[in-house]
């Protein structure tokens, strides 16, 4: 059983890896590339903890095969902060206590970033529906939604008290 040799781009860096057909992109990220920031909560597309961007589209990495990454550009939670500068979403998640246990946090951050990249001024309802594929069992979502709305406001340059 020959493994696939895959060349891809992850968080802007060119990366090569070997994988079996069966391995999902999530398996590859976690087990082959030691990028364990993407989490596995279900492996069936239901929880969003494994969210990544593939060519700019938000997907569950547990429902993408590793081989499908060939020639693609992938963004994960590990690429969100630029050096030691947090993305405004990361900063707002901390300030709003939008995480309790934190297992859902990488997925929420990646998904929320995809939202704000395409819609800089979402309503609360839009945020809630966009993030409906990300389960959080700890927070009841309240502080997560507030953090996203606040980060959006800050990124639009509106001052917030």
């Amino acid at each position: 059983m020959a493994k696939h040799h895959v060349t891809t781009t992850i968080n802007g860096e060119s990366v090569e890896f070997l994988c079996d057909t069966r391995q999902t992109l999530l398996d590859v990220l976690r087990d082959e590339l030691e990028l364990t920031g993407s989490k596995e909560g279900c492996a069936s597309g239901d929880c969003g903890a494994c969210s990544v961007l593939v060519d700019g589209r938000l997907v569950c990495s547990c429902l993408v095969l590793g081989v499908e990454a060939e020639g693609k550009s992938i963004e994960t939670i590990e690429g969100m902060a630029k050096g030691d500068k947090l993305h405004p979403l990361q900063q707002k998640f901390l300030e709003h206590a939008a995480l309790q246990c934190g297992i859902c946090t990488p997925g929420f951050l990646v998904a929320a970033k995809a939202l704000l990249d395409s819609n800089p001024n979402p309503t609360e309802t839009e945020v809630r529906y966009w993030l409906a594929g990300n389960l959080c069992r700890c927070t009841g979502y309240d502080k997560i939604i507030r953090a996203v709305l606040d980060a959006a406001a800050e990124m639009r340059g509106e001052t917030h008290g």
């Binding site: 079996d20 902060a81 934190g102 069992r137 009841g140």
Partner: protein
Amino acid sequence: MAEALRKDFKIIGTRPVRPDGIPKVTGTAKFGADFSLPGTLFGKILRSPHAHARIRKIDTSKAAALPGVKAVITGADFPEQKNEFIGPERTAVNFWYMTRNIMAREKALYEGHAVAAVAASSPEIAEKAARLIEIDYEVLPHVIDVDAAMAPDAPLLFEDMTTRGVEPAPTRPTNVSKRLEFKLGDVEKGFADADIVLEKTYKTEAVHQGYIETHACLARYDADGQGELWSSSQGHFVVRNLTAKLLGMRLNDLKVNPAEIGGGFGGKTVVYLEPVAMLLSKKAGHPVRLAMTRAEVFKASGPTSGASITLKIGIKKDGTIIAGDAALRYQAGAVPGSPVMNGCLCIFACYAIPNQRAIGYDVVSNRPKVAAYRAPGSGIAAFAVESTLDILAKQIGMDPIELRLKNATRIGAPMLGGGKMSHEGFVQTLQAIRNHPAYSAPLGPNQGRGVASGYWFNGGGESGASVYVNADGTVVVSTGSPDIGGSRASMAMMAAETLGIPYDQVRAGVSDTTTVAYTHLTAGSRVTFATGLAVVGATNKVIEDLRARAAKIWGVDIEAVDWVDGCAKPSSSNVGKFEALTLKQLAAQASATGGPIGAAHAVNAAKQAPGFSTQLCDIEVDPETGRATVLRFVVAQDAGRAIHRSYVEGQMQGGAVQGIGWALNEEYIYDEKGRLANAGFLDYRMPVASDLPMIETVVVEVPNNDHPFGVKGVGEVNIVPTMAAVANAITAATGKRMSALPMSPPRLLEALGRPGKEV
């Protein structure tokens, strides 16, 4: 303690960023599944496809012969345990049952029950090997429902189990493992004196804690008999003790490292994988990683009991509750140990009822063994009592909060199980909801409002902490409590407040089982209270030491040195004219004044204060489809004192939303063969972001005088009233009374078809 009454805190009650925040927003934090060691093997557990089956024979030879397989184990590889219940009745454990739940022996007792395990060099080989294990099952009739399991002709899970707690001891085998009875006053007389007596039966389904992180661990067993575990749990000391006991190891031969934990809610207070992984590692001679899939989590871990409760309440026309009588039948899962005793002790605890009785039954059936879930047992009981009070309030034409206020427990009120109510707080949560603008806001058509209340003991118990001062004047706090929702921040805040230094001068962490004193679970809403006491105790020892060092430098008595605002100061001008010494200055001179500064402290904290919550729910029900939408939700809860305000609110919001899921859609659904039909998030249906409004919070603060800052636990009581608050809102919106959970669209639409108006 006077300090609890202080209000001039500098740090307590603020909202600083948690010390473990950055790794959790950048993806570098390590959770249970994120560890590996060189040469790690992959474990896989083979589970029973049958709800109930005798295991005639297990043949592992083919699996063991598969290249790449390094170990195969079955229940027979674990040492046998004594069949006895140890510890106080409310939390008693029996290792004979526990070892059988970890891995089946004579019988598989539920679908998903572990029957064997393998370790291999790749996950694929492990899976293949598991499939090669041959098991000769004799499939037996099964029983799922709690009332059905109590029937005299029900299939028996343990042919020799008799009911504990009955005099004289019965000889007839049964699925009822235990009967409990608690009484106050004279219930029969109470009912005779009542103007209205209402009896009703309520049913709830089993629900899962639903933490997003599945169970996972890494185990390494060394040739000298020592072992090391990396595991995400609500208490690595408990993981150590249980694993050691189940494997016959000495406590100091097992070191457990706490991974970050991705949610627990009670479900990670027990062990499932750790003893299996350790035994596999012992056999294989290599480290072993073991993780559950989501389906395994649903089928073989958690849930809390489904239950059936018959409740009778007698009330006077003026609203005085004069008698309450409850029979609570709780599913334990496949082996004994439901939270029915909690249900009995909590059911009437909010109210000063002169005549009360609660009878509890702990019932086994062919389901996974229940685990704690947020105020275990209390929410189920509250669903019954708070629904019935809603009905009675309407029957006597009284405002539901007025009725509760009239009967609210107060300090000194006798309680079931002995003892008296020792703390205030309940009345204040009722008042908070009554005074909230939501209570009088207008409602539209098909909308309704409900309120309900709840009680939870809260926990105390054993905790250890250490506090060290570094040479640069920064402070490190270590505890044995896994941080499940920001407790590192709270610990650092309490230490900083006590020392009188800024929050960011203190770092708090979680230490492994070899570096801090035994610390009980992160559960029972106990961490901020009990571990907080240990931290404050250790901090006070450090302050004592700092004063001694200042005294030494100044050449005065320690009594002549005060610790004020982070500095040592002469206690009066008589002591002499000395410049105050800051923590930083003292730390810099530590080598010269006696060496490193630090102290450890351990407590067995008592005098915890109970938690109360009152909640309001506005709901809209689509009259044609039975779909309910929560429009507004307000949680009032007594926190004693909020250390980190955001994390207190977060507990309240999270608990209420779990309760909303329990109320509306979550349930374990079994097929006719006793197999779980919805073992995944898609069909288990926990609330998603778009299902909910913002959850409004009112943090009530009636300080606990037995804690230096007034803390009560806040983690659990917030789920207790929710199911009843939702049910009461649904009745207000629809004129139909739902007495069974979940109140899912099909059930609600069926109720809407009933003739007549119900209250």
